[in-house]
């Protein structure tokens, strides 16, 4: 694990493990038991180095931040007051165990609610796995369903392909002739450590890149040959109009559609207007999207005629009321142009994952049996009926509504005890003010975290957790390997911090759960976990070397291309959908008979978009994209990161000037759900009628209930699309200069 650079400094090779699309090798310089510097990947092939971003460059200030929690805390004031007193681990775990037993006896196991996030993603110490295992053996627990980030894309890809592995190796972008980046900003949202560099290489190779986005993103700054600004929530209208142009001009790949898809005829009927008497012409789309009809026509012709072309949709535009329809429309265009399954093309679908080193295949210590609270339910396998997911769970973006209303509100449980792990959901889910009310009413709450987050302020007990520098683990990239990395311990635990796994193990003792297996020998357990999964078992022959290097890079003979197998041999290798083909029309969705969830992809307006009547009261659309200087709300307190980009709202001068707003003014941004203050940043880089506030700044309400921290979710809605996308980007607000009053 260590290379000696000189007598005093050890270099520990490790990796990030945050809820981040990058998994970057890190070299931690350790002197006298303290990390003194951080360097990144030093792989000999410099072009293939997985260079870490500013966030892990600032890791030292994160690990040693004076505000990191060091001891267990017990609430010592009203919920939310932030007043806590130090207690011992023994006191904390004894109290928690007593409370768990009491709640179980009085209300049953379904009243124990496990709230799970992605803040730490190691195979061994991830609190999600540890707590699920523990509470399963304690008789069961309730939890929530749906990934806050990507559920729209998950539902869409399940619908049309029944596979989440819709990506290509990143270097396959270089085989493209045209790249359309639609709502994707990998310069900031690190979807793969090497993604932005591969895109730059593609551009420099002469591949044309078009960015479609309400914002002129930092990705567009370096990549875009053309920026097409679009009104948020209307992407599907433009995509449908592109299909119209292809149909009218007879430009689509009929052979591909016949051979590999089902239901195109029904989609065609919708597009040309047989279904609803509205032909989805470019002129029709121009009125909705603000994109000129001529631009739509030219883009369509260029897209169709340039082969192969990669239409790269992502997850942000799907994080809306439109949700999965955005990804479904994109996937339909890639089928109509025959770009699925070929090098340099794209299957779209927004998830971008490849099945090499993917986090979905990560090891974990399996629970010995199924969560008793979720046994005996109807099977969800293969179904697109979201209601089946809610037999025992609530939607993730309804976590706090479920806590607030319980069975009376139609949820399958009444929460009496909640355990939060790897998340700051008060801050990161929709409708923060309402969520805070829910937490005030919650009977008992435990949180395990590194920080006194806005969520943790409402806890009864806070348990301090170790950082990635304080444990050994395995981790994997989110979407794209191909590689595996290790987290290697560099320093002793700060204060009395423990990993989530150790917390679960010690709590098991307090609960008297003798059958709860412990994994105290890290080295042995990591070997076990490496051998548990086929891909790591097959590839990593020398485990000691893997751990010492901190990374194992898989060498693919050629770039991975999603669905190449199916496209090359559909007879013998069908898609996993019921029809065996790409389902542009989904019978599984048709069977649900939900008018909000159409069996073919469509443009639908739904709510809190540009054309919602609420727009009269709240005329600006609010976007909440990923910040570059935090991982969601993680690392928010790190000063080095704070100072490189002040927390500001992007607003076009066209919207600012009539409101008397100038650059740097303090703004009040508000709607019926909340109010926040934030400084204005006037920029031409955002389409008029839209403001943008990066998510993850910490909620800090003042005595008047105005959030002075600029937490965007005081404004967003706790709602989801029919496919389960957390609809955080469908949000209407008004803005005015903040004068100190309301």
């Amino acid at each position: 694990m260590e290379n000696r650079e000189n007598e005093d400094i050890q270099i520990i090779r490790s990796s990030s493990a945050f809820d981040c699309g990058g998994r970057c090798p890190l070299r931690l310089h350790v002197k006298d038991g303290k990390i003194i510097r951080i360097e990144g990947d030093d792989y000999e092939e410099k072009d293939e180095q997985l260079r870490t971003c500013l966030r892990c460059r600032a890791l030292r200030q994160y690990i040693y931040h004076p505000e990191r929690l060091k001891y267990p805390l017990k609430r010592d004031g009203p919920k939310g007051s932030g007043n806590f007193k130090r207690i011992s681990w023994d006191e904390a775990l004894t109290e928690i165990a007593l409370k768990l037993k009491e709640v179980k006896k009085k209300y049953g196991n379904s009243s124990i609610f496990l709230v799970l996030g992605g803040g730490y993603q190691g195979a061994l110490h991830d609190g999600m796995f540890a707590m699920m295992r523990l509470l399963t053996q304690f008789g069961g627990f309730s939890t929530h369903y749906g990934n806050v980030s990507s559920e729209g894309a998950v539902y869409a890809t399940q619908t049309q392909y029944t596979s989440p592995f819709v990506g290509h190796s990143r270097n396959d972008l270089l085989n493209s002739k045209l790249i359309i980046m639609w709502g994707w900003d990998p310069a900031r949202m690190i979807s793969g450590s090497d993604t932005i560099f591969n895109l730059i290489k593609a551009k420099e190779k002469g591949i044309k890149i078009i960015c479609i986005d309400p914002r002129y993103t930092d990705s567009a700054v370096v990549l875009a040959d053309q920026w097409i600004p679009i009104i948020p929530g209307t992407d599907t209208a433009m995509m449908v109009a592109m299909a119209y142009v292809m149909i009218k001009e007879n430009l689509y790949d009929k052979e591909f559609l016949d051979k590999y898809t089902v239901g195109f005829d029904k989609f065609k009927e919708y597009v040309i207007g047989i279904e609803d008497n509205i032909p989805k012409t470019p002129e029709w789309a121009e009125k909705i999207t603000s994109v000129p009809a001529e631009t739509i026509i030219n883009l369509t012709r260029e897209y169709v005629k340039t082969k192969p072309a990669a239409l790269m949709d992502c997850q942000g535009p799907a994080r809306s009321a439109v949700g999965e329809l955005y990804n479904r429309c994109a996937m339909t265009l890639t089928a109509m142009t025959g770009n699925v399954g070929r090098n340099g093309g794209s299957a779209a679908g927004g998830l971008m994952g490849i099945p090499y080193g993917h986090m979905f295949f990560g090891s974990r210590i399996p629970p010995p049996y199924r969560n008793p609270v979720e046994t005996g339910l109807k099977s969800v396998r293969g179904s697109l009926d979201l209601q089946l997911r809610f037999q025992a769970r609530c939607h993730t973006n309804k976590t706090f509504d479920a806590i607030l209303k319980g069975k009376e509100g139609g949820y399958p449980f009444d929460v009496k005890f909640a355990w939060f792990v790897n998340n700051n959901f008060l801050n990161q889910l929709g409708n923060t003010n309402k969520s805070a009310e829910a937490l005030k009413k919650l009977e008992y709450m435990v949180i395990a975290d590194l920080w006194l987050t806005p969520t943790a302020r409402y806890a009864d007990i806070i348990l301090p957790v170790t950082s990635i520098a304080e444990k050994n683990d395995l981790t994997r990239p989110w979407p794209s390997g191909p590689y595996f990395t290790c987290v290697n311990q560099a320093i002793e635990s700060i204060g009395e911090c423990k990993s989530d796994l150790r917390i679960a193990e010690e709590l098991a003792d307090k609960l008297g759960l003798k059958e709860f297996d412990k994994y105290l020998d890290e080295k042995k357990t990591l070997r076990f976990l490496i051998k548990l999964r086929e891909d790591t078992r097959k590839n990593i022959r020398n485990i000691d070397k893997f751990r010492q290097d901190g990374i194992y890079r898989l060498k693919l003979e050629e770039p991975y291309v999603a669905f190449k197998e199916q496209i090359n041999d559909i007879e013998n290798k069908p898609f996993e959908t019921p029809s065996g083909k790409i389902e542009i029309f989904s019978q599984r969705i048709a069977d649900l008979r939900d008018p909000e969830n159409p069996p073919i992809p469509k443009y639908m307006e739904r709510w809190e978009g540009r054309y919602d009547p609420l727009n009269k009261k709240y005329p600006l659309q609010l976007l909440s994209p990923h910040p570059k200087n935090r991982i969601h709300s993680e690392m928010y307190l790190v000063e080095w990161l704070k100072e490189v980009e002040p927390h500001v709202a992007w607003i076009n001068p066209v919207d600012a000037e009539p409101r008397g707003i100038t650059n740097g003014d303090e703004l009040l941004v508000f709607n019926d759900r909340g109010k926040l203050t934030i400084k204005a940043w006037l920029t031409e880089r955002i389409i008029p009628g839209v403001i943008s506030i990066f998510e993850g700044a910490w909620y800090n309400p003042d005595e008047n209930g105005i959030d002075r921290g600029g937490c965007v979710n005081v404004l967003t809605k706790d709602a989801y699309s029919p496919g389960g996308a957390s609809a955080l980007n469908s949000c209407l607000v008004q803005v005015k200069k903040f004068e100190g009053g309301v």
Partner: protein
Amino acid sequence: MYKIQVGFYFDQTRCIGCSACVIACKDWHDIPAGSENWMRIRYNERGKFPNVFVSYLINPCFHCEDPVCIPVCPVGAIIKREEDGIVIVNSDLCLGNEECDSKCLKACPYNTPQFGSKKGAKMRKCDYCLDRHLEGKLPVCIETCRTRALDAGNMEELKSKYGQIKETDNFIYSERTKPSIIFKPKKK
């Protein structure tokens, strides 16, 4: 005059303004949060929606051929190394930002000298990662850059590799000081 002159190459068409280099620099040189930044990113935005032009620019010390900071320093705290042309400051000699009225900062066309925010703070600045340079390594910012927009080394070698372009968007070449940097410029 100097045996060699080291300097930088910056491909402005690749810079996403992410500031990883800024933080890597602070980490390597152990500079606390605050106004002292040996590497800075300058931002430029022009045009009207939807015809927008944006550029980012690095701003370390350019280790000028004729550094104007040196003659203005009343105590001779700044020197240019003969062996590689790196401009370094002896902060122990520096009188501090108040006593000499930050003469070096006022003289520098690129606002490079850094004093931090405290009263009497001594000048410090980018030293081309002299410690790394002496070990044969490149400055930490170079190895940090995710888009490989940066390179550094002997200026003669950089020029033969990347060309002679001395100016780019948001950067004017000072004939007086002769900054040691060449560019792949971003144009519109």
